[in-house]
């Protein structure tokens, strides 16, 4: 099953009959909180933050009508300062434990994005990966359903909580609104 096939299958099951006519795209949303903490909730309340801290805009943590994102990768990054302009990927052996929640359903539960994880198949130069590839085809965030990520940074070696600034992106195949008719 391709990414497009999964999007259309889920959309059809949810009664979103017009999603198949929308503009296909490559899409990513990100959110960052430049305050050092032990627990973060990304995307919820992100409409109160502005670029470059987030790119979700006024719609916050839900997509517009007939817009969707099939999440295929999730990554965590560390804002360098309170402005959120610059960021880094790794900070020693920082790792992140996280949940992804869509609507009322937890779709990824107690997963970890380990420091230098995915080294069996992920190559970003010599840099340890801060990305987790979703197995299978991915998970669809449908239109107008709230989503958020709860994340807890920790030291991947000592396995102890480690307070950080933190950011998160969701990347994958998307759909953008396309009226397909005159209005």
């Amino acid at each position: 099953m391709s990414a497009q096939d999964k999007m259309l299958h889920v959309a059809n099951r949810l009664g979103l009959t017009s999603l198949k006519d929308m503009q296909g795209t490559t899409r990513m949303v990100y959110d960052s909180i430049p305050t050092v903490a032990n627990t973060f909730t990304f995307f919820k309340g992100a409409s109160q933050r502005a670029f470059p801290l987030t790119n979700v805009g006024a719609n916050g943590n839900q997509f517009q009508v007939d817009e969707a994102l099939l999440v295929e990768k999730i990554a965590f990054f560390i804002p360098s300062d309170a402005t959120g302009v610059t960021y880094v990927g790794t900070n020693g052996f920082q790792a992140v434990k996280f949940d992804l929640v869509i609507g009322n359903k937890t779709v990824i539960k107690d997963a970890t994005c380990e420091a230098a994880g995915e080294q069996a198949f992920y190559n970003d130069g010599n840099a340890p990966s801060f990305v987790i590839d979703l197995e299978g085809v991915g998970i669809l965030i449908p239109p107008q359903v709230e989503y958020y990520v709860v994340a807890k940074p920790f030291n991947g070696i000592t396995r102890e909580a480690s307070a950080q600034r933190l950011g998160c992106y969701l990347f994958g195949t998307g759909a953008l609104l396309n009226f397909n008719t005159t209005i």
Partner: protein
């Protein structure tokens, strides 16, 4: 949609483009010379006074028998601001519009700049540069013949852009160029 060749044929046919044309690999680009502190750039809308290496188009549309599928987008910066030059490794906001349709929306390609373990691609050997990145798209996006298109890019550290800095955007992919299939 099976592949880029079929998708281009499908979209062209839907738009009434009947000529098959010569299949090709197409690269189009546009470069913008910045003003001091300029944080927002618009590409493929102004071609006046640019040389052949700054842009390879004369208008913001492909010719009547030409079309292409965008497979990847490269962005190159020439930044010389002091004390801190602007950087493509800081947050960006990229939008691409074809016709009246937004086809890339609020995308931040900066995660593919340099090698920080954050790239979208599994195999990202990367140039490890903060001023040169490439993004491989997951879906085929078609620029049909004779339809306006443009790209906009916002830099989060636009205040660091110096006068005469340059930013170039490059669309690469599969395309078709005119082939008469006959003698004139």
């Amino acid at each position: 949609m099976a592949n880029q060749v079929q998708k281009l044929s499908y979209v062209d046919a839907k738009l009434g483009v009947s000529l098959p044309g010569q299949q090709t690999t197409r690269v189009i680009y546009d470069s913008v010379n910045a003003g001091a502190g300029q944080g927002f750039f618009e590409f493929f809308t102004n071609f006046a006074g640019k040389n052949e290496f700054q842009t390879n188009l004369q208008t913001n549309k492909l010719d009547s028998a030409e079309s292409m599928v965008i497979k990847s987008i490269q962005i190159i910066g020439n930044f010389a601001g002091t004390p801190t030059p602007a950087s493509l490794a800081n947050h960006l906001n990229l939008n691409v519009t074809v016709g009246n349709q937004l086809v890339i929306k609020d995308f931040d390609p900066s995660f593919n700049a340099s090698t920080r373990g954050l790239a979208f691609d599994r195999l990202h050997s990367g140039a490890n540069l903060a001023n040169n990145l490439e993004l491989r798209l997951l879906t085929d996006i078609v620029i049909p013949p004779q339809v306006n298109f443009k790209a906009t890019l916002q830099l989060s550290d636009g205040a660091n852009v110096a006068i005469n800095d340059d930013i170039t955007i490059i669309f690469k992919g599969y395309g078709r160029i005119f082939s008469a299939g006959n003698s004139f």
